[in-house]
C-alpha cells in the first residue's frame, strides 16, 4: 500500500535494549486516532529496505523518522535533526543500505525530520529486551514532538498518556518531563 501524505517511521531493534525506542514510540502512536493522511510504521531494522519502496513521490510530503542517536547528551534527551545534519553514507558495503543516502536523495521532494533520542544502553551484539528508564520516560515527550511536527493537536489525551506513563514507572517520574 503506498503511503499517504505523512509517514512516521520508528526504526530500531527492541532486542538491543534502548535501540527499541523507535518501535516503542510507534506503539504509543498507534494507540491514537490520527488523521487519514498519516501512516505510522514500525520499520524495525528493515527501514532502508522497506520504507522507501512505499513512498509515493506524488503524494508523500512529510517523513518523520524516530530512532536513537548518539549526540553526547544525557540519556533520554531528544533532538530534532534535519537530513543536512546527517553524514552522507554511500552505496558500497554490507551496511550500504544505510538510511542516510536515500534520505539525501529525496530530501528536496519530501520534508524529512529525524527525531533522535540519546540512548543509555545499546547491548549489541548481545540481546536484551527492555528500554532504560530514561529512554522510557522520553516516549511521551517524543509523541508530543511528533504530533507537533505533523500539526496534530491532540489536546489533553497526551497529558493523560504522560501521566499514565509516569505512574507506570514511579521511581523515575518527574525527571525528564519538563518540556
Amino acid at each position: 500500500m503506498l503511503y499517504p501524505e505523512i509517514v512516521i517511521a520508528g526504526c530500531g531493534n527492541p532486542l538491543f535494549a534502548d535501540d527499541g525506542f523507535g518501535p516503542a514510540v510507534v506503539e504509543e502512536l498507534q494507540k491514537l486516532t490520527l488523521p487519514d493522511n498519516v501512516k505510522v510504521v514500525d520499520a524495525g531494522l528493515g527501514g532502508p529496505h522497506f520504507v522507501f519502496t512505499l513512498l509515493d513521490p506524488e503524494v508523500t510530503k512529510k517523513l518523520v523518522i524516530i530512532d536513537i542517536a548518539d549526540f553526547g547528551a544525557e540519556p533520554g534527551s531528544i533532538t530534532k535533526l534535519r537530513v543536512e545534519d546527517l553524514p552522507p553514507g554511500s552505496y558500497r558495503d554490507a551496511h550500504s543500505w544505510d538510511l542516510t543516502e536515500p534520505l539525501h536523495r529525496i530530501k528536496d521532494e519530501v520534508d524529512i525530520t529525524v527525531i533522535g533520542c540519546q540512548p543509555k544502553i545499546v547491548t549489541d551484539p548481545d540481546m536484551e529486551i527492555g528500554l532504560s528508564d530514561e529512554v522510557l520516560d522520553a516516549i511521551p515527550k517524543t509523541v508530543r514532538i511528533v504530533l507537533e511536527t505533523i500539526g496534530v493537536d491532540y489536546g489533553t489525551t497526551i497529558k493523560r498518556l504522560q501521566e499514565d506513563r509516569q505512574r507506570g514507572t514511579a521511581k523515575s517520574s518527574g525527571s525528564t518531563e519538563t518540556s
Binding site: M1, L15, M127
Partner: protein
C-alpha cells in the same frame, strides 16, 4: 606455491562476512573459506521463559529482511510443540504472506547482483541506479514488484515489515472480501510483471554465462564454465511453503541434523600473502595480516546426514521440479524461475480463501514440553525453528537459519574459481548473514557442548 588472499568485508549482501582464500599461482581458489563475522547474539537464551506468543515476535527481530519468514517459522514451531492444528483459511493467509515475502526479497536481491552482470551485447556493467534506459525500466519494474509484494504482505500480515497478524493457533484477523479482491488484483498485475522480469533476468544471466571474461578492478578475469559448482547435495521441504511434520514431509528430519564446530571445519591461522589494492571496494586485506577462520567464524557448520547441503531456490527446484543446472548461474536462474511461482501460488491460495472462514483454532493446547519444529521455505532457503513449550511458556528454543547451511556449501563451491569472482559466487546464495549467526554446538552424543567460543 599457494598464496592467501582475504576479502573483508564482502559487499552487496546483508550483514558482515568475509572470504579467506588459498589460491594457486594463477589465482585459482584451492581452498575457500566463507565465514560470518557477525558476533553471537543469543536469541535462544532470550526466548527461554517467555510465552509462546512472545517468542515468534522476538524471533522476527533478528533480521531486517526476513521478519515474515521468522515469524511464520516461530509460530509454527510453537504450534508443532503444543500440537495445534490451524484452520485452513488461516493457513491460506500464511501462504499468501509467505509468497509476498519471497517476491519482494528476490526482487531486492536482483538489485544487489545486477552490478556484476553486463547489458547483453555490450561490455558495460549494469548500474541499477542509472536514470538511463534500458536499465531504468527494469529498476522501475523491480520497484513495482516490491511495492505489490509489500502491499499484499501488509494486507495479509497486518503490517508491511514486522507482520502482526500471525499468532499461535492461526491468525488474529481474517481478510475481508474487499481485501481479498484487492490482493487478487495486485497479484494479477504482479504475475505479468514477474514473467517479463524473469525473462529479462534470465537473458542477462545467460549472457554472463556465455562471456569469456568479467572485469574486476580494471582487469579482465576469465569466467570458468563451472563457476560455483559443488557436489554437496540439496535440502528443501516444500516448493513454496514449508513443513512442520515428518508425516507431511519426510525430507527434513531433525534427527538427521547435526552441527559441527567451526574449528573442525575452517582453515587455521594463516598469513595474508597476496594483496590487490585495485579490488573493489577499497582493495583486499593488507599483506602480512593474520587471518584465522577457525576462531573468527561466528557460526557452526550444520550438517544433514553428515555433510553440508545447499538450501534456497535451486534446492527447492531440484527437489520438487526436476531442475538440474549446477553452478552460480544455475542457482540465479532458479531464483528467477520462482518469480511466477510466487504469484501463481498466491493466486491459488486466494482462490481457495474464504473471507468468512474461521482463522483461529477452537482449542489451543498449552503444551507438555515436547519438541516441535517448523521448517519454513524462506527466500534464502529452509529456515528451521525448534521449540519446546510447556504450559504456554517456552522451555527451549533454537533457530537454524538458511544462510548458516549455505556457508560451508558455498565455501566448497568456491574451489576452482578465480578469487576475483569469489564474491559473485557468494552473492548467488543471496546471503543474509546477520541472522545466520547462531552458535549452539552439539557433540557426538547430541549434547550441547559450547554455546559460545569466541572472546
Amino acid at each position: 606455491m599457494s598464496k592467501v588472499v582475504e576479502i573483508s568485508p564482502t559487499t552487496r549482501h546483508e550483514g558482515h562476512s568475509k572470504l579467506v582464500l588459498k589460491v594457486n599461482d594463477q589465482g585459482i581458489i584451492e581452498t575457500g573459506n566463507w565465514l560470518s563475522i557477525t558476533p553471537v547474539r543469543g536469541v535462544e537464551r532470550l526466548a527461554v521463559g517467555k510465552t509462546m506468543e512472545q517468542v515468534p515476535k522476538i524471533a522476527s527481530r533478528v533480521c531486517g529482511i526476513c521478519p515474515i519468514a521468522h515469524t511464520l517459522a516461530g509460530v509454527e514451531a510453537m504450534e508443532a510443540s503444543i500440537k495445534c492444528e490451524i484452520p485452513r483459511d488461516a493457513h491460506l493467509l500464511r501462504v499468501i504472506l509467505q509468497c509476498a515475502n519471497r517476491l519482494h526479497s528476490h526482487a531486492l536481491h536482483n538489485i544487489l547482483t545486477l552490478p556484476d552482470m553486463y547489458i547483453p551485447g555490450t561490455d558495460t556493467k549494469i548500474n541499477p541506479f542509472t536514470p538511463e534506459e534500458p536499465v531504468r525500466t527494469v529498476a522501475k519494474r523491480i520497484q513495482r514488484i516490491r511495492e505489490i509484494a509489500q502491499t499484499i504482505g501488509e494486507i495479509a500480515g497486518g503490517e508491511a515489515i514486522h507482520p502482526s497478524n500471525p499468532r499461535v493457533g492461526g491468525m488474529y484477523k481474517a481478510c475481508s472480501p474487499q481485501a481479498k479482491t484487492k490482493m487478487y488484483d495486485l497479484a494479477k498485475e504482479g504475475l505479468v510483471l514477474a514473467h517479463a522480469h524473469m525473462d529479462f533476468m534470465i537473458a542477462v544471466l545467460r549472457n554472463y554465462q556465455k562471456r569469456d571474461w568479467a572485469e574486476v578492478g580494471g582487469k579482465q578475469i576469465k569466467i570458468p564454465k563451472d563457476l560455483g559448482y559443488h557436489d554437496q547435495g540439496y535440502m528443501a521441504t516444500h516448493p513454496v511453503y514449508g513443513s512442520s511434520s515428518l508425516d507431511e514431509c519426510p525430507t527434513w528430519d531433525p534427527s538427521r541434523f547435526k552441527e559441527s564446530r567451526p574449528w573442525d571445519w575452517y582453515m587455521g591461522e594463516s598469513e595474508i600473502t597476496l594483496e590487490d589494492p585495485t579490488y573493489p571496494v577499497g582493495g583486499t586485506t593488507k599483506m602480512g595480516t593474520k587471518a584465522n577462520p577457525q576462531m573468527e567464524a561466528c557460526t557452526g557448520v550444520p550438517c544433514y546426514d553428515g555433510a553440508p547441503v545447499e538450501v534456497g531456490p535451486r534446492a527447492r527446484l531440484v527437489k520438487f521440479k526436476n531442475f538440474d543446472e549446477k553452478g552460480t548461474i544455475g542457482q540465479q536462474v532458479a531464483r528467477q524461475l520462482e518469480y511466477p511461482d510466487c504469484l501463481t501460488a498466491m493466486i491459488s491460495a486466494l482462490d481457495e480463501y474464504n473471507p468468512n472462514g474461521k482463522v483461529v483454532a477452537d482449542y489451543i493446547p498449552q503444551g507438555d514440553g515436547s519438541m516441535g519444529w517448523a521448517a519454513n521455505e524462506a527466500p534464502r532457503g529452509t529456515d528451521v525453528h525448534l521449540a519446546k513449550v510447556k504450559d504456554g511458556k517456552v522451555l527451549w528454543y533454537s533457530m537454524l537459519v538458511p544462510t548458516t547451511w549455505n556457508f560451508a556449501t558455498c565455501s566448497a563451491a568456491l574451489t576452482g574459481a578465480p578469487w576475483q569472482l569469489a564474491e559473485v559466487v557468494v552473492r548467488g546464495y543471496d546471503p543474509c548473514v546477520s541472522c545466520a549467526t547462531h552458535m549452539i554446538v552439539i557433540d557426538e552424543d547430541n549434547r550441547i557442548v559450547a554455546q559460545k567460543l569466541i572472546e
